[in-house]
Symmetry: C2
Subunit: 343 residues, 2 copies
């Protein structure tokens, strides 16, 4: 499951080195409608953008294009785009002729810190997110902040929530540094690259110990039991919120639960709550939604025997996976979350 992480802004030179070292005669890029124009190469498979296109139909389109382009097991595939492109392109490459080497070049902060690294690939099926897929690591992940200048602020914030999550799993120093982040300032690329490097390393270390999510990898679910439920409900109601916003709210709720159950310091709950209140506005739920939210949490992929299950913290950096949470505790945490957000 070893993945080579390369932090550089010189994408083409790096791809050139990979081609030369691997003796690849043919390189095919997979991009979506938004990122295809960034590809400085001839063989490009362009797929429709957006999670609605993360389907088997798009995968078969990629396989067909690979046939036409003459892709063999000795070819190289480069996925250039956000999480949808790296998830789907990774699956298509990993299954074509039982596996063509592929490299991920994430173009969003969320993709860089989450989807592009760690080997999860797949697509949505029968209305279920990432229902079909494979654990298949990109051989290399090229991480650059140069794409982020053109990201909408909402996208940057969405990715930043996952950066924050990784800090909460690993380092109070980093956690406090991130809480000082100012989204209104221009991007400091050097600093952002360093934050990215640290966040990605947290994921890599955890995945290395549990590549197929049989235990510890579940730590990366911090904030996501509540976050996924909020995201799903917002989608059902036709007023979807960005993934990272839901995660940010989920991090606050699960920090509250961590305080209730494992004495996670209230000081850190408050700092986190204030940062999320200031930067992730728009929480669209009331106490009338709790029943629906709890029901969604009971059906989460990570839930066991229909119980609500969370990753919780005893302090920043000290996580406890698979913690059962009662409906009463979850209801209390959602109330306190709303207080933190000033609702």
């Amino acid at each position: 499951m070893g993945q080579n992480l390369i932090f550089t802004d010189d994408i083409m030179a790096t791809i050139g080195q990979i081609e030369a070292q691997g003796g690849h005669r043919l390189t095919v890029w997979i991009a979506d409608e938004n990122t295809a124009s960034l590809v400085p190469a001839t063989h490009v498979i362009t797929i429709p953008a957006g999670d609605d296109s993360k389907t088997l139909h798009t995968v078969t389109g990629i396989w067909d294009a690979m046939e036409r382009l003459g892709v063999t097991r000795r070819s190289l595939v480069v996925n250039l785009g956000g999480g949808m492109v790296t998830d789907l392109g990774g699956f298509a490459a990993a299954t074509f002729k039982r596996g063509v080497r592929f490299v991920n070049v994430p173009t969003t902060l969320l993709g860089a810190v989450d989807a592009a690294v760690g080997g999860k690939t797949g697509f949505n099926y029968n209305g279920l997110k990432n229902e079909i897929g494979a654990f298949a690591p990109a051989s290399d992940v090229i991480l650059s902040t140069r794409f982020f200048d053109s990201l909408p602020l909402t996208e940057m914030k969405s990715g930043f929530a996952e950066v924050l999550k990784h800090a909460m799993l690993s380092s109070r120093e980093e956690f406090l540094r991130l809480l000082n982040h100012d989204f209104t300032a221009p991007i400091d690329h050097k600093d952002l690259m360093e934050r990215l490097r640290r966040a990605v390393q947290v994921k890599v270390d955890i995945v290395a110990r549990d590549p197929k999510e049989q235990g510890e990898r579940e730590a990366l679910n911090l904030g996501h039991t509540v976050g996924h439920a909020l995201e799903s409900l917002s989608m059902k109601r036709g007023k979807s919120v960005p993934h990272g916003y839901a995660v940010a709210w989920g991090l606050v709720a699960e920090a509250v639960l961590s305080h209730l159950k494992f004495r996670f310091p209230s000081e850190d709950v408050h700092r986190l709550g204030a940062f999320v209140r200031d930067n992730y506005p728009g929480f669209p739920f009331t106490c009338d939604d709790y029943d629906d939210l709890l029901e969604l949490m009971r059906h989460d992929k990570k839930s066991r025997n229909g119980e609500i299950t969370c990753t919780l913290l005893s302090e920043v950096g000290a996580y406890r996976i698979g913690q059962a949470v009662s409906s009463d505790d979850m209801t209390a945490a959602l109330d306190i979350l709303r207080d933190h957000l000033g609702l």
Copy 2:
């Protein structure tokens, strides 16, 4: 890539142990129309038999059935059937929710010695054999000869050719023992289980050193450069031959090439030729077919830069992968093959 090999006739007790040790609450069997009646369990996904059904359409049918049956990552899948069932069921299980544990129970000798072991899964796509797939090992392979009593003789011989191939890659003693095999005698289950055990171990040892076919695993291609070409041409002409028959003929041709290029003992070529002549009748080609056969060999998956490539032997047990073979040498070998077969 570790696979647990279990040689036993008590399939259900073994599955019961696997369920108990793994804490699996739900076990779903995948079988084809021929093997479904052998399943002593309630949750069975039955797929159409035959290589024509080895398609993406059949895979999506399995995924849909898994959804309906409530399969989760903690469930167990058991593939019961020949190579088509273990290849296809293995792929469906390996990709459902990014991977459900699966066990293979091959019901044919060919499946037992070849497809069920070693982690190759997949399906045919756009008319290409096993074009889409994954390297995904069954956690356990349960090997029993009890299913073989009802196999047609042609099927037994077909599987036996792969057993013979594995002996040629590993042991002259075993090779000579196999050449004394009498297909007209009733099955000696104890002896057959021992032959199967040895043959499977050869594959397991090679696969362990090269799970993703980046080098040594190509040794398992012995007999298959010529064999695949004969099989493909017979299929195109609408008079298909069993896979193992084509492999048996291919083993003779490649033993001849091994003699020409690496002094593989002519004594062993003759012994092998006589056994194949006596037991694998029906070779349906003449020298008029050579051009077509050579063209097929140049387009074999294992060919490099359009050259014909074979695994050859300097003696039984000593293989050399990726040997380029000239058209003249191949033509000579096909002539000598026809001599051996008495044509």
